[in-house]
Amino acid sequence: MESHENIDPQVQARMAAEAFSVDVDGYEGPLDILLTLARTQKVDMRRISVLALAVQYLAFVEEAKKLRLELAADYLVMAAWLAFLKSRLLLPKDDEDEGPSGEELAAHLAFQLERLEAMRDVAARLMARDQLGRDFFARGIPEDVTRNRKITYKASVLDLMQAYAQIRTKENFKPLHLDEREDVFSMEQALERMKTLIGHAIEWGTLQQFLPDGWQHNPKLRRSATASTFAAMLELVKEGKLDLRQSDMFAPIEVKRKEL
């Protein structure tokens, strides 16, 4: 960004006059225009005549209207406000008036303009600094840190003993698993069995009919087989191979091959 400081003030003024009469787009809002106009006064921003500035700005808005330029709303808001400020600065102070005086408002506007100009100046100085990747450089071949994560496991003899004790305790109080397993008709078994049987289930039949031989009479065995066979049937319904129905609560569950 070039700084306006280095340009001859007269040239600057002429540029400004030309600029604002034709090109509103080039401005970044009313404050920007005010700053441009203020520079034409060729005085320290602190001693700017806000009144003169207001007059200049209003003239600018008039000019724009003549040229039928579409002015954004905030330019017009600023114009209205400056007209108000102008009247405040010109008319004798009315004691009835509430709010800040014309001088206070003018002082703040001057402060805003000075601040904006200062920010533009330092922005230019900032951008003129040496920049990384343009004037100075970082390491071209950075080496990444390779992360080696090593996991070690921790266990003590006590952990070992407790774990073993736990297993043995369990074992002391139950018979060998293999015996127990004989009392259980697993879902896999039921599923295997059902898969071979569904082909024959053309008509509705009850679930009981599908229990394996030898599992119907002992209540313990029957419960296990019923549960697993039912679960297997649900699985097959889910697969779309079976239909299942029950006419009433506690009525027999009936099953039939799904028609394809």
Binding site: P30, Q112, M119, Q131
Partner: protein, 219 residues
């Protein structure tokens, strides 16, 4: 709990060796490393601060320099040799005037709310401008201001400092003069000064800290 296996329970290596280690680590990383990060990587008991002082001195006047960036340390080529580096230079994105000014305002006034930036520039800050600066990781969101609406603030990042070769935001050009002139004061406008018409067309009366669409914008 992680433990580095090379951690010695006995003695830190001699200072010359510590210096070599810091040198190797900083050479290997493109990003600045904080003292804390360095301490985590060198053997236990090393005096990173002292090693850095030695190292900085050693590179004084060399083709690369050890610089401080915010909390971090990094090697960078000496700025006077930039002319040799055309091959290395990456096309720096040309920033718009709005982006440059917004960046400067954030740097000099940080932490600063969007409403305050608008009050200073006299125009609304477009979302694209802020997004661009966030994208570049030159700015980031700071704490919310404890004022009505709890607006979020913007601050510059370590990457910003690194990019412009600044050790701290205090090294920004002209920052002292601006402060002495009162131009960095947060001076609220007397009421009845027209504010900025923000992007959605609503007039923000300038004096208010709150900025409803700010939350929308940053969340």
């Amino acid at each position: 709990m992680s433990e580095t296996p090379h951690e010695s329970l006995f003695e830190a290596p001699p200072m010359a060796e510590q210096e070599r280690m810091i040198e190797a680590i900083l050479f290997a990383s493109a990003e600045p490393q904080s003292k804390k990060q360095l301490e985590d990587r060198v053997p236990h008991g090393c005096d990173v601060s002292e090693a850095l002082v030695h190292l900085r001195k050693r590179y004084d006047g060399r083709g690369v320099a050890l610089i401080k960036v915010g909390e971090g340390y990094a090697f960078r080529t000496a700025p006077d040799l930039g002319f040799l580096m055309q091959k290395e230079s990456v096309e720096v994105r040309k920033l718009s005037r709005a982006a440059i000014e917004t960046l400067a305002i954030i740097a000099y006034h940080q932490p600063v709310t969007r409403a305050e930036i608008e009050e200073i520039r006299g125009v609304s800050v477009s979302r694209g401008t802020v997004d661009l600066l966030l994208d570049l990781e030159w700015i980031k969101l700071g704490r919310r201001r404890m004022t009505p609406g709890r607006p979020v603030t913007l601050v510059v990042t370590q990457l910003f400092l690194d990019h412009f070769g600044l050790e701290t935001p205090k090294d920004l050009p002209g920052v002292k003069e601006l402060r002495d002139a009162g131009l960095l004061d947060n001076r609220p406008p007397p009421s009845a000064i027209p504010g900025v018409i923000s992007e959605d067309g609503e007039v923000d009366m300038g004096q208010s800290e709150e900025d409803e669409d700010q939350d929308d914008m940053f969340e």
